[in-house]
C-alpha cells in the first residue's frame, strides 16, 4: 500500500476514535502515531485489514497517553475498556471530520493546516515544508486549531461551503514544495465527493481536474508562465479533462448552480477548444454573467471583461473594464492586453510595466516584464 492509499484511511480511523469518546486533539495525535508506525511496520508485515490495524494501534496509543495523563492528574476513572464501535458508518465519520477541520471558528490558514493533517494525514513537517514556514510554527498553528475546535460537537453537521473554501485554498496555493498540494487537494475533494452527494462538491472537483489537466502546458521548461492562448494543447491531460467534464455535466444536470460549477464550466470551455481561436468566448461571457450574479465578485467582473474583449472585440472589453476599480489585482495586466489588441502598443507597454510592478508572484512579474519589453523593442511601423 502506498503512502497516499494509507493516508486515505486516516479520516475513518480518526472518526472511530472520536466517536468512542476520545478528545479530538488527543485522538488526532494518536492517529498520527499509528500512521508513522504503519509506515515503519507495513513494508515487512502488511496487515489483512489495514484500517482495522490502524484503529487498534491508534486506540491503544490513545489509551496509553490517556492513562499516563490520568495517572499524572491522579484521576484513574478514565476510559479503560474498548467501547463498541456503534452503527455509524465510516462515510459519516469522514464527512464530520471535514466539517470539523473547516469549522468557521478557524482562520483560513488554521483550517487549511488542520485539514491537511487530520483529514489528509500529512505530517506537520510536510505541511510546514509545503507552506515554507518552520515546523515549530506549523506545529503551533495545528495545536491551536485543535484547541479551537475541541469544544465543537463532532456529530453536528456543518456547512459544506466552508469545507469547499478550504479545499479551494489548498488547490490554489500553487506548487512550491515537495508536497504537491494541488494533487492533495484533488484527492481530498474526491474523497469528500464520495462521502456527500452535493453538486458544488462535484463542481469544485471538476474545476480542479480541469485546471490540473492543463498544468504541464502552463509552464515552459525554464519555469516561465505560458499564457492560455499560447499553451501547447497537446500537453493537456485529456483523461483528466474527460473526467472533469463528465463530473461537471452530471452536476449541472441537477440544476442547482453554484460558483464552483460555474467556474468549472468556464474551464471546460477552454479545455474543449482544440485551438485558442476555437474558444467559445460568447458562452464564456454568459458563464461569467452567472458567476457575477452568484458571487458579485470583482475578480469575476475582471475576468468577464477579458472574455467580453475576446467575444465582442477589445473596445467592448475596455468598456466593461472601465466600470471596475483599477486597484483590482491584475487590472493593469488586463488593460494592457486589451489596449494592445485595440492597436495602442505604447499605452499597452506602459500598462504591462505597471502590471509587473503590481504582480503578486515572481513568475507573473517576469511574464509581464517580458510583455512590456516585447512591445518596447518592436520595430517601428
Amino acid at each position: 500500500m502506498d503512502e497516499v492509499a494509507l493516508r486515505s484511511l486516516i479520516p475513518g480511523v480518526l472518526g472511530v476514535l472520536v466517536r468512542r469518546g476520545a478528545d479530538f486533539a488527543a485522538a488526532e495525535d494518536a492517529v498520527q502515531d499509528a500512521l508513522i508506525e504503519a509506515l515503519r511496520v507495513w513494508p515487512d508485515d502488511m496487515p489483512r485489514d489495514p484500517r482495522g490495524w490502524l484503529v487498534t494501534v491508534a486506540w491503544r496509543r490513545f489509551l496509553d497517553v490517556a492513562r499516563a495523563e490520568a495517572a499524572r492528574r491522579r484521576r484513574e476513572d478514565l476510559v479503560d475498556e474498548e467501547p463498541p464501535t456503534g452503527p455509524v458508518s465510516a462515510v459519516d465519520d469522514t464527512l464530520r471530520l471535514y466539517f470539523l477541520c473547516a469549522h468557521p471558528s478557524l482562520s483560513p490558514s488554521s483550517a487549511v493546516a488542520l485539514t491537511l493533517r487530520a483529514v489528509g494525514g500529512l505530517t506537520t513537517r510536510q505541511i510546514a515544508q509545503a507552506y515554507l514556514v518552520p515546523e515549530a510554527t506549523m506545529a503551533q498553528r495545528i495545536s491551536r486549531a485543535k484547541r479551537t475546535v475541541s469544544g465543537v460537537r463532532f456529530d453536528q453537521p456543518g456547512d459544506v461551503a466552508t469545507v469547499l473554501r478550504v479545499l479551494y485554498l489548498v488547490f490554489n496555493e500553487g506548487y512550491s514544495g515537495d508536497v504537491d498540494l494541488a494533487a492533495e487537494a484533488i484527492r481530498l475533494t474526491r474523497q469528500l465527493a464520495a462521502a456527500i452527494d452535493h453538486p458544488e462538491v462535484a463542481g469544485l472537483l471538476a474545476l480542479m481536474l480541469l485546471h490540473h489537466a492543463r498544468r504541464a502546458g502552463r509552464t515552459a521548461p525554464d519555469g516561465s508562465l505560458v499564457p492560455l492562448a499560447e499553451q501547447d494543447r497537446s500537453r493537456w491531460d485529456t483523461t483528466l479533462i474527460a473526467e472533469g467534464v463528465g463530473i461537471l455535466q452530471t452536476a449541472l444536470s441537477r440544476d442547482r448552480l453554484g460558483e464552483f460549477q460555474t467556474q468549472a464550466a468556464v474551464a471546460a470551455l477552454h479545455a474543449d477548444a482544440r485551438t485558442a481561436a476555437e474558444t467559445d468566448w460568447v458562452q464564456i461571457v454568459e458563464w461569467y454573467d452567472e458567476l457575477v450574479r452568484l458571487t458579485g465578485s470583482p475578480i469575476a467582473r475582471l475576468n468577464r471583461a477579458v472574455a467580453v474583449g475576446e467575444a465582442d472585440g477589445p473596445r467592448a472589453g475596455l468598456a466593461a473594464l472601465a466600470a471596475l476599480d483599477d486597484k483590482l489585482p491584475r487590472y493593469a495586466a488586463v488593460a494592457a492586453y486589451l489596449h494592445e489588441r485595440d492597436g495602442d502598443p505604447d499605452r499597452a507597454a506602459r500598462l504591462y510595466a505597471e502590471a509587473a510592478r503590481r504582480a503578486s508572484s515572481l513568475a507573473e512579474r517576469d511574464h509581464l516584464n517580458r510583455q512590456a519589453a516585447r512591445l518596447n523593442t518592436r520595430r517601428p511601423g
Binding site: T137, Q140, G174, H211, R330
Partner: protein, 135 residues
Amino acid sequence: MKYLLLKHYRGGPTPVSDMPMIDKWTPEEISAHIRYMQEFAARLQESGEYVDGQALAPEGTFVRYDGEGRPPVTDGPFAETKDLIAGWMVIDVDSYERALELAAELSAAPGQGGKPIHEWLELRPFLTEPPTITE
C-alpha cells in the same frame, strides 16, 4: 501570506518621536525594550505566525563583479548609509490588516521612560507562487 517587517536605523518617513538614540537610555530601559521584542517574537511563535527574524550589524560593504578573472570590487564598509536596515522579521498571516496590526504592536516597543518609541517599520509582501486558477 508572508510579509517582511523591516526595521530601519535610519531612512523612511520622518520620525514622530524625538526620543534620543538607545545609548542615552538607562540600562533598565534597554532591557525592557529587548524583553518586549523577545516577547513579541515568542507570541508570534505561539500563534503560529512566526517565520524568521534576524538582526544585522550596521556595517555594510558594497560588492560588484569586475570582469572575468578579476577579484570583486568592494566599496565601504560604510557605517553611515542613508537607509540603514537594522533587522527583519518574517511573518505568515491571514490578512494585510493582521500584518499592519502586528507591525504597529512592534512599533509600540518601550523606549526612554517606558514610552512607546513609535518607530516606522516597513512592511513588504513576499512575492508568491502564481495561483493555479486565474481565469
